[in-house]
Symmetry: C2
Subunit: 151 residues, 2 copies
């Protein structure tokens, strides 16, 4: 990890979020991206993206990586994502893009493992097998989020 890693990752993060917002909008979702997204100020207050279609609410944390590998996320960040989703009556999830694979994948929150006091991890294998994001979202909408909520 070189000196500007943090900054580089935030820049990449913002462009990934914009790409995903545009993709979701084209698919008919109402989509909003949090303010100062990718910056430290935002962290822990807003989710990266909220996408809504016909009252189905998806609360999304966006992760983009160059290569397929485990992804670590602050546990606090996951807790905030869950709390936002709880209030909204929506589903929290992680949208992952591995640049070399060129697809967006959906990782349900149940596949995010707590690995320490302050860190969570999405295993490489989970990401590899994760469903295509758009297929996932549409299947959740067709299924009805109610089944998620009562789980």
């Amino acid at each position: 990890m070189y000196k500007n890693e943090g900054r580089r990752r935030r820049t990449t993060g913002v462009s990934a979020e914009r790409e995903l917002v545009s993709k979701l909008w084209k698919q008919g979702f109402a989509v909003i991206r949090g303010p100062a997204s990718g910056s430290r100020i935002k962290k822990g207050v807003y989710p990266d993206i909220v996408a809504i279609k016909n009252r189905h609410v998806f609360v999304i944390e966006v992760k983009k990586r160059a290569k397929l590998d485990h992804i670590y996320i602050d546990r606090e960040q996951i807790e905030k994502l869950k709390e936002f989703a709880r209030r909204a009556g929506g589903e929290p999830l992680i949208a992952v893009k591995v640049a070399e694979k060129r697809v967006w994948k959906a990782v349900p929150i149940s596949n995010v493992k707590e690995v320490s006091m302050d860190k969570c991890r999405i295993d490489k294998g989970i990401i590899e097998q994760a469903e295509d994001l758009m297929n996932y979202l549409n299947s959740r909408i067709n299924l009805g989020l109610d089944s998620y909520l009562s789980k």
Copy 2:
């Protein structure tokens, strides 16, 4: 209107939005504010605020004024608000704060009049008689947004 009027209004706009976000969060809503809110870049892309509780989605344009008077809004802005709400299955509305009155009021989109090719207006009288914002939102949730959607 003095030289920096536009800029001043944007600054006021952002602080009003932050105040409203905080108020809504305390009332149990999931709330997100659009990026670069108040700036020209954002205009026409995102609503100012999206507030969600238990799958009831409110798509909100925020207006703060020092004194009670007519409020003019770009018609394009209103159209975008409606489109976002249509996709979300939610309700578009204007949250108005008149500083001297110290309360937030809710103006339903049906009370926003088209007055020219590119401008809409909320009449002073409408603002004066508008319901308290929190009461309005809670009554809409209790009523069920379905009745709004089928109107």
